[in-house]
Each structure stands twice: as C-alpha cells, then as structure tokens.
C-alpha cells in the first residue's frame, strides 16, 4: 500500500479493500455494525435510537476532521451548518412537497454553498481567528433560525416527515451506517489524492505551501465546501429521522460534541472519530439514562475524557492504535498465518 511495488504484488482481495479504503479490521468492524441490529441486547428499539445517534455523530466527526485534521482550522460553526442543511431540507419537503431524499441532497448542496461562503470570508484569517469567524457565522445562523418564526417556527420546532414510513428504526440505522461509510470513503479518496497532500501542506504552513506553488484559496475553499456539504446532508438526515427540528441542533454544544469525538478519536485520521463514537456515545447514553437523578454526569465524564486525552495523548485513539496495537496485531497475525514472525 505504501509503494507502487507493493501495489503490484497485492492480491485482488487486498486491492479491493484498498480501493474501498478499508483494512481487514475495518471491514470486520463494518460487518459488525451491519449485524448489530440482530444481536440481542442491541435489537431493542431504544438502543437502536442510541446507535443511530452514535452513527450520526460519527459521520459528523468524519466531515469535521476533514477540515480540522487536514487544513488545521476548527470549523466552530459546524453544527450550525449542519442545522442549516437540515432546515433547508425540512422546509423544502414541507413547503414544496419534495421527497425527503431529494431534499436531503438539496440540504447538502445549500450547506455546501454556505461552506463556500465561510471558506471565502475566512481566507485571510488563520488558526483561531478562522475558528472564531466560523463560530460567529454559526451563532448568526442559529439566531436567524430562532428568530424567523414565520419560517422555522422558532424554538417550538418544525415537524418534518420521516424518510421511511415505518415505526422501526432498523432502516434508519442501516441508512446512517451506509452514509457514514460513503462519507468516509469520499473524504478518504480526496485526502489520498494529490489534494490531500496540498491540504496537509496548507495546514502545516500556509506561507510555505503558497511559495511551493499550492494555491491555498482553491484548496481551502474546496475543503470547507465539501466538509460543510457533508454536514448539510447529515443535518437533513437528522431532520427526517427525529421528525422534529429545533434550533438546538445548531447549538455550539453540538459542535463541541462532534469536536470532542473527532479529537478523542485522533485528528487527521478520519476513521478515529468514526470508530470511537460508537462505544463512547453509547456508554454516555447508558450513563445518562441510568443515572437520571444526576443530570450532567455524562457530560462531566465527557469533558474529563477530552481533557485527559488532550493533555496526555493529543494524538487520540488513532495514534494509540497505530503505535501500540497495529504493530502487535500484525505481528501476531503474521505468526498465526505464516508460522513465523
């Protein structure tokens, strides 16, 4: 996978996996995710709802990581952009009678346009300033969604038709897993191409990147647009899954949730957040529902984990996996298959 010679020697199965941006362990994980609704404790509807939420945050964290991990700009208005996509989608369905599926795509597109705008106006800003600008942008959009009551019904929420006309959560679950995988695949393809290198160059040192002939305008704007379009599609999914949309989806707290998952998972890896979201959010939901007399305890644990990870393991889970588990596992597998290490 690393060099062209290795590429030629690969067997067809590995080649296919490589095209699909999966490792054998990743494939196993994906299969496990698809099988999950049939495995006993998880086949209950309320657990599926939690898992869907896990999948939603996981997919959001992949899109978020495309900006944060590659061009090193924290899009602090990410949840707002996602909510913007959700509202667009919901309003299209309600007012124009479009099918939710088409509306979802349209939500993605409008959110992408929004991302284009954020990317354009934040071009001259760096680091924390760009983060602040996207944050203010998000606050402004959230303010609009709250105040334009004639359109969005404000805090009382918008009733939206669901994607599937059924009470079961299973199709929604499969859909979010497929979306998660497609988003991951799209991002991975982009960062594997020449563009990924340009992203990293811009993220590490914009001036150096510019002097070596990379046009930061194009790449930064493209990155923002793509990442925000992903958020928009997911916002549409969110709207048409829960059936009710309030401006809360745009709250900074939601961005923080996505951000925490992306960073705990390991920034710049894309898959780290997706993998860590499932166990982590799931456990948080268990804590929240079983200790309802101690409100906020799950968020305290959340914050503590984020703080500890940032201090002691800023590379996150993906770094941990790459340095500690992958090597040992590969060694063990080689021994198991070949009889020698």
């Amino acid at each position: 996978m690393d060099t062209t010679t290795a590429h030629q020697q690969m067997n067809p199965f590995d080649k296919l996996l490589d095209k699909l941006c999966l490792t054998p362990a990743g494939l196993l994980g994906l299969i496990l995710l698809f099988a999950l609704p049939y495995i006993p404790p998880f086949n209950q509807e309320y657990m599926l709802r939690w898992l869907i939420y896990c999948g939603f945050i996981a997919a959001m964290s992949v899109g978020f990581d495309l900006t944060a991990g590659y061009i090193s700009i924290v899009n602090f208005g990410y949840a707002a952009v996602s909510g913007f996509g959700g509202y667009t989608s919901a309003l299209l369905v309600i007012n124009l009678g479009l099918s939710p599926w088409i509306a979802m795509a349209a939500g993605g597109m409008t959110a992408g346009v929004l991302g284009l705008m954020i990317g354009m106006i934040s071009l001259r800003l760096r680091g924390i300033f760009a983060a602040c600008l996207s944050w203010f942008f998000g606050l402004a959009i959230m303010g609009l969604a709250t105040k334009m009551v004639w359109l969005t019904r404000g805090p009382s929420g918008l009733r939206t038709p669901r994607l599937f006309e059924t009470d079961s959560n299973v199709p929604f679950y499969f859909l979010i897993i497929i979306l998660l995988y497609l988003i991951y695949l799209a991002c991975k393809w982009v960062v594997r191409s020449k563009m990924g290198l340009a992203f990293q160059a811009i993220g590490q040192n914009m001036d150096a990147a510019r002097t070596s002939g990379i046009n930061p305008v194009y790449y930064r704007v493209f990155n923002f647009t793509m990442s925000c379009a992903i958020a928009g599609v997911l916002g549409g999914y969110y709207a048409h899954f829960y059936g009710i949309l309030t401006p809360d989806i745009m709250h900074t707290g939601k961005t923080v949730e996505v951000l925490a998952i992306a960073y705990i998972g390991g920034r710049g890896s894309l898959w780290g957040g997706a993998v860590i979201a499932f166990p982590f959010i799931f456990i948080m939901e268990i804590i929240r529902s079983s200790l309802s007399n101690l409100p906020g305890l799950n968020l305290i644990i959340y914050a503590l984990v984020l703080i500890l990870v940032m201090i002691y393991y800023p590379g996150g889970f993906s770094y941990f996996y790459d340095t500690n588990i992958r090597k040992v596992k590969n060694k063990a597998l080689r021994y198991f298959f070949n009889g020698r290490a």
């Binding site: 680091g127 602040c132 606050l139 402004a140 951000l259 968020l299 914050a303 984020l306 703080i307 940032m310």
Partner: protein, 342 residues
C-alpha cells in the same frame, strides 16, 4: 494649537480605529436623541462589565496564548460565589437596614467573587494547562483551546450537578432610590456596577503600564525568550496572569448578579460578547479591548432597541465578520503577526 497635532489627529480619524470610534459615538448620540438616554445607560453599564471580561480574555490570549473558551465559566463562578456570599448578608441587611453592612455587604460579595475567580484560575492552571505545558508545547494554541472547551463543559455540568439548574438570583445589591441624572433614573446597582468596572479597568491599566510586574507580563506576551533572559520567572507570570484574567471575569459575574442570576450556562453570553470584542479590537491591546467592549455593547443595545431581542447575536456577528474581511487583525490590532496566527 500646533500643526503637528492637527495632522496626527486627522490621520487618526482616517485610521480604522478613528473611523469606528467616531461612528460609534455618532450612532450613540443619534440613538440617544431618537429613543431616550436610557440606551446610553444600558450601553455604558454592559460595556463596562464586558470590558472586564474582554480584558481578561485578551490577557489570556496575549500572554499565555490560550484561546479561552471557558472564560464565561469564570463569570459563572463569580456570580455563584457572590450569590452564596450575599444571601446571608442580605438577610442580615433586611433585619438591620440601617447598619453599615448595607453599604459594604455587596462589595464583600464582589470581592469574594474575585478571590474565588482567581483561585479557580490557579487551580485550572495547575490541573489542566500546566500539565499540558510540561508535556509538550507543539500545537499549543489548538490543544490548549480544546482543553478550555473541555473545561467549559466540565464546569457547566459540575454547576448543574452540585448546585442545580435553577436560577440563583438576588433582588438587588444596594437598595434605595435610583439616582437621577438629567431626567434619567439609574438604579443604584447599575451605577455601582459601572463605577466598579471603571475603577477596576483604570487600576488594571495603571498596573500593566507602570508597575514592574505589569511590565513583565507585557514582556512575556511580546517575547517569551527575551523575558526569560532578563530574569523573569515565567511560571510566576503565568500563574499571575491566569488568576488576574479569571478574577476580572469573576468580578463581572459578581457585580452583575442583580441582572444575570447564576445558572449553569450564564457564562455563555458574556463569552460570546467578549469574543466579539477581542476579535473586533485585535489582540494584546487593553485600551482597544475597552473601546471594543463599549462598541459591542452599543451594537447590542441598538439591535435590541430597533430590531428586537434575540437578534443581538445575528447583527453584531454579521458586522464583526464584515470588519474581519476588511481588517483581519481587528480595528485596533497591529498588522504584526502574532503567535496566534499559527
């Protein structure tokens, strides 16, 4: 009147700072004529307190390179402390309304808020930022920013868990007739809040400009190696800065308790507004932050007056984005690139 001063003045008026200050003053005067002087009173009271929070934020950014997301939580700590200190005091006052405690009591509560803010700042440095600084300073701006995000979530939910999510407010600090200035009645609490903010900002400015310790804080913000070379103990300055910054925020929380009762997310609004100020006015400039605070307060007051409550995030943030597009370093910021641009 020398000619040089006139030239200086015209060039200042043409600079971004001059233009924006002139426009703000004009707008303020116009709004006051149009809808009554209470608008100015609101602006001045909010602006004064906002100046405290924003100066703390500037300090954290300029000296420690920490983009503080948890600054509002120190506001919350301040208001919470003031509430728990002032509640028994107010009971005592209602029994003995004539005693001197009626005058001193609120001040005690506010001072306690400041002390508590400083202590919690030191604790945050020792438990959160210090360990990160010791381990590695690569990617410091981003990593420390994420730490403050975690800290913010932690403090908000600890408040909810321990003290509950209900509003913990007081009726007022100083009772008595409102003060009237030129047909405008200002409640004593508001007047005192303004006085407190003016006194503290003035003291703080004096401290930073003329004292040896204040100068060493500025030195650290400008060149940390240079500061080490001249013999400044960086650890000490870091602790001092963080406790000062947090105390400033907590004082604001304490003195505004009569307007903003304490609840877990009370710090969110001051945080947004303080960030508006810091980004608008540029970094590392205390007087700029003060001017920016009044501008943001004016913007907020005018938006609420003419467009309606709830729009006060939309309009200011849109305007600030416009400013950022044309002057990325902020109105009062210099074009010298700082450590934050990494």
């Amino acid at each position: 009147m020398s000619n040089k001063m006139v030239v200086n003045f015209t060039s200042w008026i043409k600079s971004a700072a001059g233009i924006s200050i002139t426009i703000s003053i004009l707008v303020a005067v116009f709004a006051a004529i149009n809808s009554g002087p209470y608008l100015i009173v609101n602006t001045v009271v909010t602006g004064g307190m906002l100046a405290l929070v924003a100066t703390g934020l500037t300090l954290m950014l300029g000296v420690l390179n920490i983009a503080m997301f948890a600054h509002g939580e120190f506001f919350m700590i301040g208001s919470l402390t003031a509430y728990y200190v002032f509640t028994p005091i107010s009971e005592f006052i209602s029994e003995n309304p004539e005693s001197f405690v009626a005058v001193i009591g609120p001040l005690i509560a506010i001072v306690c808020a400041a002390i508590m803010g400083a202590i919690s700042g030191v604790v945050a440095e020792k438990l959160v930022f210090g360990p990160l600084r010791k381990r590695s300073t690569d990617n410091w701006v981003m990593n420390s920013f994420l730490l403050t995000v975690g800290l913010s979530v932690l403090l908000v939910n600890l408040h909810q868990l321990i003290f509950g999510a209900d509003f913990k407010g007081i009726v007022g600090y100083w009772s008595g007739m409102p003060i009237s200035i030129a047909d405008v009645f200002i409640s004593r609490d508001r007047a005192m809040a303004f006085v407190i903010s003016v006194v503290i900002v003035a003291m703080f400015w004096f401290f930073m400009t003329y004292t040896r310790t204040g100068m060493s804080i500025r030195a650290v913000s400008q060149d940390i190696t240079g500061a080490q070379i001249v013999g400044i103990d960086i650890e000490k300055i870091v602790l001092l800065t963080i406790s000062l910054a947090c105390a400033l925020s907590a004082v604001a929380g304490g003195s505004l308790l009569f307007m903003y009762p304490s609840y877990p997310t009370v710090g969110l609004e001051p945080l947004y507004l303080a960030w508006f100020v810091v980004i608008l006015s540029g970094l590392g400039n205390i007087l700029g932050a003060v001017a920016g605070a009044f501008m943001v307060a004016l913007l907020k007051a005018i938006t609420v007056e003419y467009i309606g409550a709830g729009w006060d995030f939309v309009i200011p943030s849109a305007l600030i984005m416009l400013v950022l597009i044309f002057k990325p370093s902020g109105i009062f910021g210099s074009d010298v690139r700082g450590a934050l641009d990494k």
